[in-house]
Structures are given as structure tokens and as C-alpha cells.
Symmetry: C2
Subunit: 392 residues, 2 copies
């Protein structure tokens, strides 16, 4: 049992027809003019942007807009957003989209409220002292960014993908209507479910301690997501399944699933960030492609947790050695990834890094982590390289 | 699946030796002078008050103090606190204690920040528009008031116990050191565990809908509290068990265990408030004394939930009729209450209301609820009277 800090201030408005409340939420926040920040078109095509604007109009909230956020959101657009937000004197950034739009909005929020180059916060050179408030209309259940303290940005030159974690960027509100996620491509839905499961597993696999109540929440969450991800493969418009996954996404990454664990692992995320930066793959698919190799590389150093995971989450009968049961649990989660059409190695992901690229990936991953990363097992550059090679 | 709103802004600082952080937390809040509000002496005897003052001194935070809060905290002291806080110009109320000290602090916070009689908010005549921030150093795991939007105050004349629920009173921070709860009398520990279980059950038993992820959290939470309550009967100084129960107490009542359920029941709480007001019994024991009677009165109207509870929480084999399984679940929770030395009727609780008193209890309970109460089954005055009689 370890000490912990827990802080989740986001006001969540969850359910059908909640988009109309975005104006009220902005008004309650005391904001007068917002920058609506979104992706490359789907929020326009589906009419969502018009609904958001109508809700803002209804409360006499002024707004300007900036679209163009891409997956693995780019620093160049963040810079553009900062300049635009300053010029227009906006006092809240409203992300309409998934994790990319939210993360980009968070970066703009930092950039407006602090002096100097915003990349410094991602490059760990400085810590932000303030942020413009960020509000969210969520359209993808995946990254949990709608409640999290995390923002991940990719620097255009060199494809360097870096995260900045700070409570200042936790969104002030999040409008979460599961119906908005019904039109997602199946692949993106599965990527989202994978990311959600991984956010919990990154906290679950640690050798530093645990808390029973946190374990019970984490295990229930993963089981719920797996069950509903399977439903969504067949029934993408099942509202209840969409809602379960969407709420799981927020709870998975707002801190709840790590209370008392003494420190998160997040090595798989670190490894994925590098392939995401270099090859621009979908984040969830990248995680699925790497996880099994990571797990087989580290499980002996965190055996009691892998054993518990196998029994409590994956329903592996506890009738052979601890190690065998643990390995069966790993295999069964990989089977699940395949079942929802996720890759379990980089080849299935569609990327084939060369030896030089593997070395570069491991080197960049190690540098991003300040030399080492992991709570299940501490990984150094050589370990990272070994895992990348296992995942080919 | 129902829409829901979720908001838990409290900064939780959890674990050993966290008391020293109270000064920093007040400072981060931007407060300059606090009113330390506590009970009738134990925080002085144990030296906790001195530790809190030292932590405030270390950050140059000014303070005044007001003790004397009793269980079922009284309106008269709230009035005194409001006057004192205004006179001393404090800008934060720091509750040091359990639910009573926190609820009293919340009422003072309302009273300072709003015009007029603070009782109006409890009597449902007006809604508070503001509150002074409330911070918490928690010494009892029970009411969940350290994260909840709830405050319950008893009017001295007539023993009228009423609650006011409003997000404005959610504490801005809560310092939670499980070691502080180790010296509690066994009876109070058991009362706390009962209250925590009940806060989840009041949300779990509803006929209005459910969400799988919420159910899994609720079921895991109750199982965790039951397991650790049993441990604490034998090992009151078991740190991990204290910590599990303490964190469960906050999660049980901050809203998490009711997301998507379409509305909470809280009839047992309503029934208990009246006997608490009339006989000044311990809240948790009062709940245990009434729950079984409530459950037997309503279970047929909420059979799928009582059946699920029996199977998923109480481990009743699902091999007889739905009704039989449900009844076995109710019996087994009552067995658990006995195991931790809680009463399962009013006689065991040590109170013997007369026929006239029973009628008065039901009448007051009905009035407090605005005529009816309940989500598992809607109860009117005659139902309330029937349950009180079953619970003799």
C-alpha cells in the first residue's frame, strides 16, 4: 500500500443529447470567447460542429475555430493555435473530437498561459505554471484525455512524440455523448478499446505495491471493456456498449485505476510513442502490436501481478505453475486483440523497421524516458531494443 | 443506461504522514486564514490538532479554532461558527475529524457565503449560491463527506435531521491518513464500514437502470469493505485494512458508484435520519438496524438487482428461484452485520420507540422526503411506518 494523490476535477456530462449543454458549461466556467479546436473534417460532415455552435450561440458565447488536428497531433498546429488564440483573446479552448484534438487543445492552453516555447514542457525543459481552461466535446472513446492530466504532441521535424503530464491541463468539463462514437470506423473503435485497456494495465502491472479496491476497479474495468469491445465488433451501433466503453475510457486514465500502486509502468506507451512518431501508426494498434512482447520480456519480474491478471481478468484456471498461468493470461489477451482485429506485432501493424530504425527507436525511447522506464521491470535502452526486436 | 453528471473536484492526499501537507494544501488554495473546526476533544488528546497547527504555522497560515462538534452535528454550533468565521474573516473552513465535523464545516461555509438563515438550505426552502471552501483532515472512514456534495445537520429543537446536497460544498482538499483511524473504538469502526457499504447499496438498488462498469465498481467496493471490516474486528491496527476502508469510504459516496443508475434510493438513509434525530444513535448502527427490514419490504419490486447482489456480492449460489436467492443475499448481509457487532433491528440498537413515536418517525421521514422516497421501490408514509415496525 503506497501513498497517493488523486485529483479529477472535470465536470462530466454523460449521455444522450448532452451536446446542447456545451453552452451552459462554458458559461458556468465564466468564459466569454472560445476557440473551437477540431480535426480534419468529420465533425463538420456529421453536423456536430453546427450543433456545438448552436449551443454556444444559445448562451451568447463568442467563438472562433481552428480545425486540422491530425492523429499524433503536430506541434506546428499548436503554434498556430497559440498565436490565433492570443490574437482573438479567447479564454477557453473547446476541443471537439478525440484524444488528438484534446491534446492539441491542452498544448494551446499551455502556450497561451505561459511565456516561451510550449515545446519546452513536452521536452521536459520547463514545467507549465498555468493553462487556459480546456473544455471537451468527446467523439472517440480511447485516450481518456477528457479527464486526464496528459497531453502528447508530435514535433513535425524528426517525428518526436512527447508527453507532458500536469494537473493544470485536466479539462474543466467534458460532454460525453456515446452516440457520437457510433459512426467510427471499426478499426478506430478497436484501437480505442485497446488504448483504454492499456491505460489500466500500465497501472496494474507494477512491482511496487497494490490496493485491493484499486485492483477490483481495474479488473472490473478491463472485463467490461473486453466484453463490450466484442459486442461492438458485431453491433457498432449498440448504445449501451458504446456508453460502457466511453465511461471506461475516462476512468481508465483519470488516475482511479492506479491509486496506491506506487507508480505506473507505461513502458508500452513509451515504446509505442516512438513508433507512432516514426511511422504515424494509430496509437491503440501500436500498443496492441507491442504489448505481448513487452509482457513476455518482463513478466518474470512481476510474476504475482501477471498471475493475478491471468486469473482475475482472463479467467485462466489456477491449476498449473504461477509462470504457466501468467503466460496463458498473456496469450489470452493477445487472442482478444486478434478477435477485435488488432495486430499483435509490428508486421501485422504494417510496419517493418530496419535494424538501424530499431536502434534509433530504442535510443529515442530511452532518451524520452530519461534513461529508463517501467514499474513492472525497469527497462533500459538495451531492453527496449530487445522488445522492439521481439515485436517484429 | 441513464445519463449522468459526475463531478469530484476534491484533491485527495492519501497515506502515511500526510498531515504535514495541510499547510501546503491551504496555501495552494490561496487561503490566508482558516477556521479549524473539530469535535469534543479526541483531536486534542491524540495531538493531531497540534500537528495540524504546526503544518499551518510552517506555511504562515493564520487560524482560529472552534471545537465542540458532536455526532449528528447541531445547528446551534453551526450558527456560532458562522458568526465566528465572519468576525474573524476566515477564508477557508478546515474540518479536522469525521463526517460530523465535515458536515458542520460545510454548513458554516454555506452560512458565511450566503445571506439569511442557513437552515433554509437544509429545510429545502432555498438553494445555496456559494460556499466558503472547506478542507478536510479525515479521522474517521465512514460518511464519505470528505468528497461528497452532502451535509447533514440536526436542528436542536425537535431533533430534526436534514441533509443538503450541493456541489458547492465538495471539499477542495482532503488529507487522508489511515493511521489516524487506528485508535477508533471498534463500534465506531464497524459503524463506519456499515455506512460505507450503505452508501454504495443506496445507489445499487434501483429499478431505473444500471451500468456494468458502475456495478463492477460497486460490487468490488462492497466486497473489499466486508473483507477488511472483518480483518479490523481482529486487527484494529492493520494499516492496509484501514487504508482500503478509508479510500472505499470516499469512493462510495463521491458519485462514482451511482453513475448511470438513473437515481439513487437512499430510503434507508432517510429512515435512519429520523431515528438519529429522535434518539441520537450512531448513524452506521442505525442503518444496519433498519436495512434488513427495508430490504425485505422492497426486494420484490427490485428483484433483478437483489438477485444480482446476492450472487455477485454475497456469493449465494444461483441454484434456486430468483426470490429465494435474493432473500438469502439479504440474510447474509445481516449475518455480516452481526459478525462485526452491528445491530439488525432497533431493539439491538437499544431503542424502543412507542407506537406514537413510530408514527411520528414515519411522518417526519415522509415530510423530509417531500412525500415519498426510494428508487428500488417508492415509499410513502405508510410504507415507512411499516418498515419501522418490521425493524422493532
Amino acid at each position: 500500500m503506497n501513498n497517493f494523490y488523486y485529483y479529477t476535477p472535470t465536470k462530466v456530462v454523460f449521455g444522450k443529447d448532452t451536446i446542447s449543454k456545451v453552452g451552459t458549461m462554458v458559461k458556468k466556467q465564466g468564459s466569454k470567447k472560445v476557440l473551437i479546436h477540431y480535426g480534419t473534417g468529420s465533425v463538420k460532415r456529421t453536423g456536430l460542429l453546427d450543433r456545438v455552435k448552436a449551443a454556444l450561440d444559445a448562451e451568447n458565447i463568442d467563438y472562433v475555430e481552428l480545425g486540422g488536428v491530425v492523429p499524433n497531433p503536430r506541434l506546428s498546429l499548436v503554434y498556430k493555435g497559440i498565436e490565433f488564440a492570443k490574437k482573438e483573446n479567447v479564454d477557453l479552448i473547446l476541443a471537439v473530437g478525440g484524444g488528438s484534438a484534446i491534446d492539441s487543445a491542452k498544448a494551446i492552453g499551455y502556450g497561451v498561459a505561459n511565456e516561451g516555447d510550449v515545446w519546452d514542457f513536452y521536452d521536459r525543459k520547463r514545467t507549465p505554471k498555468a493553462s487556459l481552461p480546456v473544455g471537451v466535446v468527446l467523439t472517440i472513446a480511447a485516450t481518456g484525455s477528457e479527464m486526464s492530466d496528459s497531453s502528447v504532441i508530435t514535433k513535425d521535424e524528426g517525428g518526436i512524440k512527447r508527453g507532458c503530464n500536469n494537473d493544470l491541463c485536466r479539462p474543466v468539463f467534458a460532454i460525453m455523448d456515446p452516440e457520437l462514437t457510433m459512426t467510427l470506423p471499426d478499426y478506430q473503435t478497436a484501437c480505442g478499446c485497446t488504448d483504454i485497456i492499456m491505460h489500466t494495465l500500465e497501472r496494474y502491472f507494477t512491482s511496487k505495491g497494490n490496493m485491493e479496491i484499486t485492483d477490483s476497479i481495474a479488473e472490473g474495468l478491463i472485463r467490461t471493456v473486453m466484453k463490450n469491445a466484442r459486442i461492438l465488433v458485431k453491433e457498432p451501433k449498440n448504445y449501451d456498449a458504446r456508453a460502457e466503453v466511453m465511461w471506461a475510457g475516462s476512468l481508465s486514465h483519470n488516475g482511479l485505476t492506479g491509486c496506491g500502486n506506487g507508480g505506473n509502468d507505461f513502458a508500452t506507451h513509451g515504446l509505442e510513442h516512438e513508433i507512432g512518431g516514426m511511422f504515424d501508426v494509430a496509437h491503440g494498434a501500436g500498443l496492441a502490436a507491442l504489448w505481448g512482447s513487452w509482457a513476455r520480456y518482463v513478466y518474470k519480474d512481476c510474476l504475482p501481478r501477471f498471475h493475478r491478471f491471468a486469473v482475475m481478468v482472463m479467467d485462466i484456471p489456477d491449476n498449473s505453475s504461477e509462470e504457466e498461468v501468467a503466460l496463458k493470461g498473456i496469450e489470452k489477451l493477445e487472442d482478444f486483440f486478434r478477435e477485435i482485429n488488432m495486430p499483435t506485432n509490428m508486421s501485422e501493424l504494417g510496419i517493418h523497421p530496419t535494424e538501424e530504425q530499431l536502434i534509433e527507436l530504442a535510443h529515442k525511447c530511452s532518451i524520452a524516458a530519461g534513461g529508463s522506464k517501467g514499474a513492472a521491470k525497469v527497462l533500459y535502452e538495451k531492453d527496449m531494443l530487445a522488445i522492439y526486436k521481439m515485436a517484429l
